[in-house]
């Protein structure tokens, strides 16, 4: 099962490596991980996507909670939530393909961020599957570079995840 775990962690040097180290030491798998400070500069928010059996994910959550720097965490997959990931793709775009790629970007509500005579950089934001679909729609030989942030998530409804 895929799980998306949101973590509020003390914004201190080494906090990230405590989380990353925990996963490697205990053999858990990280699909993606992103981290940035929150509105409270003393706190960072980390979003971590992992896969594992119910038993493994239960252990992951307990072990994360055990880290002294972790203030709070939730498994977003347990409730309705929104996920967004940001991707930038550098694509070879010459001749006829320039229009094709532009219309494809429009379909995916992408934005063209950079244009040269032979390339585009396109930004696409959305759930990870949408990003996958966009990449799949482009001829593989035209893709020069793909960079993805990994998903971040937030729960639906009135309740906020903070201290």
């Amino acid at each position: 099962m895929r799980h998306i775990i949101s973590i509020l962690i003390e914004n201190e040097s080494g906090a990230l490596s405590r989380v990353a180290g925990l996963f490697s030491a205990r053999g858990y798998n990280i699909e993606s991980l992103n981290v940035a400070t929150t509105e409270d500069p003393s706190l960072s928010r980390m979003t971590l996507v992992t896969r594992g059996s119910e038993h493994i994910v239960e252990q992951i959550i307990k072990q994360l909670n055990k880290l002294i720097d972790v203030v709070k965490l939730i498994d977003l997959a347990e409730s309705t939530h929104i996920e967004r990931e940001l991707m930038m793709v550098k694509i070879k775009a010459t001749g006829n393909t320039r229009d094709e790629i532009r219309s494809l970007a429009e379909i995916f509500r992408g934005k063209i961020l950079d244009v040269t005579a032979t390339t585009y950089v396109i930004e696409v934001t959305g759930p990870s599957e949408k990003l996958d679909a966009f990449v799949a729609a482009i001829a593989p030989e035209t893709i020069l570079e793909v960079v993805r942030s990994g998903p971040t998530g937030i729960s639906r409804g009135e309740k906020g995840f903070n201290l």
Binding site: G14, S17, E58, Q59, K62, N65, K66, I68
Partner: protein
């Protein structure tokens, strides 16, 4: 009061009530050592190797319940301490390790004696800190002690760059009375509803077993465990780490469980219908093959660490809390429902257990002309009237000490259970003796283990810590040899040493008394003589039967009911050793 960083560290230790600090100086901690020199309250114990410092502090902590404190320099001083830190971590021992670091401006430049101590120790500490600001130093030390000693205890490293301890930079000092950490609140009480469920399950039990571990000792809950067990009349088994939490000479005690546990303890676990695990963590040496573990039992688990619950064995009732606190609540509930205990079923259960007991799984060849290691431990028990502090190293001798020294009190059995660190026994015995100068302290070891930290014999002389070293010398790494005998067709690959020092001379060279014993009839008198030498460390080099194995044994991949028992092979009559 304005103090330098170095003075702040020392003053913080004083304010924390630290009696001993175990350490070794070096460049990055020179300021700290200068501050230590100028006071007498915190006594420094100079070891001969930093691993010794950590084990000595660890032994002190295990025997007293107070945190052990270590001071090492950067680089090699710090890395030498890592084995001892990992040892404490695996057994949840409260320790605070202060390590020097190169000056802040050169961190990351591969400076002389620089190592990323915070990075290296991250996986084997409860928490660690790098101090970047001298004004945060006192608070950080306080946090370190707070984290190390609360919840599930563990070692905490405080890495201090040299410039932070600069004697010329002074800042106001105030040691906080308490600290609050928003990210750290160890839960303590246990869920009322779950406690009720557990009591109901216990009252329904017909074949119950109380399986208790090191958490009962760490949580100072031996009295509660004893009262709880006696009230219910249930059999009690202890893990290696839990020995002494329940009196071993009590009739309800069925011995240690697990790989080298007793037949009766393991069979009872296997046949049980309700198991209550108290401050124990279902370690692989306890459970054997997980699929075969306690197939008929409902399991209750009390532990302070939520991550220990259902980590390897799925439990039916989980209670997260301090064992002492939870047991107290259970006692109150059970008192009101004593009549519900199935006494008749319990009688039958005890009858069954007594049958298993009658197998006498710990019996050994008493007529042997060679010294049997089990016999040595029995005699050690007799000579010390069962009241010594016994430290051990790791291997066969450790198991024999656990099996044949019947610990009636907590904190008397000091060994590296989780990490299994050879070299632990001697330095930890020094730590214990410092804490309890009037008590008998024995280090049960073997000729392989003792050599891993033998240099601490020198420390024992300097600080006048008269301990008795019981060296069960079988000229093999016995446990390795045993596994090779059972699983590798007796191909004894590198499990013996062709050259072994003359320990008597070695002991004498270090300023101690050395004795060599090679006849069974000499063992008792030698032990009596050694313990009568109250103010001397005595090294008893005891030449034992080198073919002896630890029984019973659950081999890898087997369940509790499938034990390898000793087969009577007759008596060794040949004194010429194989």
């Amino acid at each position: 009061m304005e103090l330098s960083g170095a003075q702040i560290v020392v003053q913080s230790l004083k304010d924390e009530g630290v009696e001993y600090i175990f350490g070794y100086p070096g460049g990055a901690v020179l300021h700290l050592y200068d501050a230590l020199f100028q006071q007498d309250d915190v006594k420094h114990i100079l070891v001969r190797h930093e691993q010794g410092a950590t084990h000595a502090a660890d032994g002190y902590a295990r025997a007293t319940g107070k945190p052990g404190v270590v001071l090492v320099t950067s680089g090699p001083g710090a890395t030498n301490a890592v084995t001892g830190i990992a040892t404490a971590y695996m057994d949840s021992i409260p320790m605070v390790i202060i390590s020097g670091q190169v000056p802040s401006p050169v961190i990351g430049s591969d400076a002389f004696q620089e190592v990323d101590m915070v990075g290296i120790t991250r996986p084997c500490v409860k928490h660690n800190f790098l101090v970047k600001d001298v004004t945060k130093l006192a608070e950080t030390v306080k946090k370190a002690f707070y984290v190390a000693t609360t919840g599930r205890p563990g070692p905490v490293v405080v890495d201090i760059p040299k410039d932070i301890t600069d004697p010329n930079i002074k800042v106001p000092y105030l040691y906080p009375k308490k600290v609050v950490m928003r990210s750290y609140n160890p839960s303590i009480n246990g869920d009322k509803e779950q406690i009720k469920n557990a009591v109901e399950l216990l009252l329904e039990a017909r074949k119950p077993v109380i399986y208790s571990g090191g958490g009962v000792i760490l949580g100072e809950a031996s009295e509660e465990l004893t009262e709880f067990s006696r009230m219910l009349g249930f059999p009690v088994t202890n893990t290696l780490m839990g020995l002494g939490a329940y009196p071993a000479t009590d009739k309800q005690f069925i011995g240690m469980l697990g790989m080298h546990g007793t037949y009766e303890a393991n069979m009872a676990m296997h046949e049980s219908d309700v198991i209550i695990a108290i401050g124990a963590r279902f370690d692989d040496r306890v459970t054997g093959k997980l699929d075969l573990f306690c197939p008929y039992a409902k399991i209750i688990h009390i532990d302070i660490d939520p991550a220990s619950i259902s980590k390897t064995v799925k439990v039916d009732v989980a209670i997260v809390g301090e064992v002492k606190n939870v047991l107290k609540q259970m006692l109150v509930m059970i008192k009101d429902h004593m009549s519900q205990i199935h006494n008749k079923a319990l009688d039958e259960w005890w009858h069954q257990i007594d049958q298993w007991r009658s197998l006498q799984c710990l019996e050994f060849d008493r007529a042997s002309l060679l010294i049997k290691p089990q016999y040595v431990i029995e005699q050690l028990y007799a000579v010390t009237r069962g009241d010594a502090y016994v430290t051990s190293d790791v291997g066969q001798h450790q198991m024999w000490a656990a099996q044949y020294y019947h610990f009636d009190k907590p904190r008397r059995w000091i060994n590296s259970g989780g990490l299994g660190t050879m070299g632990f026994g001697l330095p930890s015995a020094i730590g214990v003796k410092l804490a309890f100068p009037d008590a008998d302290v024995a280090c049960v070891t073997g000729e392989a283990s003792i050599q891993m930290c033998i240099q601490e014999l020198s420390t024992a002389l300097q600080y006048k810590t008269p301990i008795k070293i019981i060296n069960l010398n079988n000229r093999y790494m016995g446990m390795v040899r045993q596994w090779q005998e059972f699983s590798y067709e007796s191909r004894y690959s590198h499990s013996y040493m062709d050259t072994i020092p003359e320990f008597v001379k070695l002991a004498e060279a270090y300023g101690h008394v050395g004795m060599r014993i090679d006849k069974p009839e000499e063992v008792r008198s030698a032990l009596e003589e050694a313990f009568a030498l109250k103010d001397r460390t005595v090294f008893l080099d005891i030449i034992t039967d080198r073919t002896e194995n630890v029984y019973p044994m659950i081999e890898a991949g087997k369940g509790h009911h499938d034990m390898k028992l000793r087969v009577a092979t007759g008596t060794s009559t040949d004194r010429e050793l194989a």
